[in-house]
């Protein structure tokens, strides 16, 4: 670290603070996806970014990629809004991509409260339209949304 700082400052003491950021460029496994994030709205852009990278590595066609992205983010938005109330909690997204199918799971460790208002079901309906096979399993220790569908022709 001293060597890196030495290179940057060229031996001269700088007047400004220096932040050193270490990044690890992981090559995503194109068949598997897994992240666990705090269940807060600001996690959503990060989730989309990592999901997009994964689907790109898995050579997902653009339409599929967008639909899977929306379905997962809808499920996570539901967790963020309904699972924990004002308490802290996490949301976990797992994915499995085979040649013909994609399977995504979104889980939390909270308890969903019943939907409120007329528009609350719209997110889940959209997930069902986009993913074909959708199950929501509430358990005492959390809720799991499982989504599965076939993939369109792969773009090359």
């Amino acid at each position: 670290m001293d060597r890196v700082l030495g290179e940057v400052t060229r031996g001269r003491p700088g007047g400004d603070d220096i932040a050193l950021l270490a990044l690890r460029a992981e090559i995503p496994d194109p068949t598997r996806f897994h992240v666990r994030l705090p269940a807060v709205p600001s996690s959503l852009p990060m989730l989309r970014h990592t999901l997009r990278r994964w689907m790109e590595a898995a050579q997902t066609n653009d339409e599929d990629a967008y639909e899977i992205l929306v379905a997962c983010c809808e499920a996570c938005s539901n967790v963020i809004e309904h699972a924990y109330g004002a308490a802290d909690g996490d949301v976990e997204v797992r994915g499995h991509m085979t040649e013909h199918e994609v399977e995504m799971t979104v889980r939390d460790w909270g308890r969903w409260r019943p939907p409120r208002g007329m528009n609350r079901g719209r997110g889940l309906r959209l997930i069902e339209e986009l993913m074909r096979h959708v199950t929501v399993t509430p358990r005492p220790d959390g809720t799991t949304v499982h989504m599965q569908r076939t993939r369109r022709q792969v773009t090359t």
Partner: protein
Amino acid sequence: MTVTAMVKVIERNGVPVAAPEGEIDLANVADCRAQLISVVPNTAPGLILDLSQTTYLDSRGVHLILELAERLRTSQQQMALVLPERSVIRRVLLLTQVDKTVPLCRTLDEALQQFRS
């Protein structure tokens, strides 16, 4: 990583045209809503929402569009959407039947036609 939807506003033939750039989701939909309602004066014939620079939109965005349309209808103003043919968000708007409530136009000129009646 925070993403705020930047809403760019121009005016064509007296109609405000608002174009949110980037992604609309749970994280920024309230901010986006505040920007959009502030661009339609009571004297304007309505609002054109140009989604050609919007790269992500889910049910929160859909809810926002429908809410805006409802508010404008109440104040006897119109609303039209601009969405290029190949936009990735088209499918979400069709699945949620937004096109049944708000005219979905391919170009800004087409959207402006809606206001010439």
